[in-house]
Symmetry: C2
Subunit: 219 residues, 2 copies
Amino acid sequence: MSEKDISKTVIKRLPRYYRYLGELMDSKVERISSGELSERMHVTASQIRQDLNHFGGFGQQGYGYNVEYLYDEIGKILGLDKKHNMVIIGAGNLGQALANYGNFENRGFITKALFDENPELKGKKIRGIQVRSMSQLERYLKKEDIQIVALAIPKESAVVVAQRVVNCGVKAIWNFAHTDLNVPEDVVVENVHLSESLMRLSYNINRYELEHGIKKEEE
Amino acid sequence: MSEKDISKTVIKRLPRYYRYLGELMDSKVERISSGELSERMHVTASQIRQDLNHFGGFGQQGYGYNVEYLYDEIGKILGLDKKHNMVIIGAGNLGQALANYGNFENRGFITKALFDENPELKGKKIRGIQVRSMSQLERYLKKEDIQIVALAIPKESAVVVAQRVVNCGVKAIWNFAHTDLNVPEDVVVENVHLSESLMRLSYNINRYELEHGIKKEEE
């Protein structure tokens, strides 16, 4: 396993550490051992130590981790110490759900505008955020300092719209369309493929039933 | 890496194979080599052969894969040859977005009802699907044959509602609430944590900027 692979797996777990540490801070817990954190998170203590060692090992033998320090450090690694301006393309139910989710703002993700091709939605406000016409997209992206574009549109239009966004210099796409976007190497894409998530669920239901069946036969 | 770990990684990729094979079928492609599939999917051909070998190796030397056969087989592995009845708890924007997404139905996931504690939503219909009162939940789950419950509610209520759902014998939860659900071992949970997805995106923006910065210094 290469260095890059290790990172990817660990990175996937960092937001979860961040969430648990945030909850600990809310409960006024100041320090925690890898053992206690392990119990809460249902991850082995050695995994926790291993994961956190990748980032310089914030723990101290016999003292444990300083919750606030670790929370801040992981936040920095995740880039949460910076503000990110975001635009949502697609003001249907999903786009509106994303715009309504105020918690993103607490993490520094500020939704500045929504865009939709439906003229009936133009001028509508979601949590005070304006829905704009798709024809204004390029002008808006070039004028405003937008780091992230969320694509909450069907896959048929996503590829073309992604191209428009990339042409304006946006380097990060949060893609909800059920298709892979072919973007230049310097553009990062984070996919949320809901159908695929549902398929994994269905696989696990199926597997459980099979294993359960096999077990019964063995008895 | 244990057998179980291998499966998990491969399983994660199966829905993507399924999607590409479906697109090939739509374009009337009947067979494909691992090389061609590799080019389309931006995965190495050897990875494709390795992945698909886990499931009995559907390919033939010099012939390639029979697209429809492979599509059907992967569909069966994912449990998509069966119908799954689903209920969505939470009829806010996200719940409505899920209910409106007709594509799930094409995969055999049938949304039978939505539930919401907001009395103003009671009786409302989303794509013909009725929003019911949370007080009816237990009776409904026990009477109807529901395999999957989607939780599109805030984390504060998700833990309690998950418990109610599990008590009714539901074995699969599609969880959009930003919390981990502690459920019995025989209940499968698939999490969609949107904030965490956004954090991974922000991490990758951050990393790109750092690497880019480092590269510049080296030059």
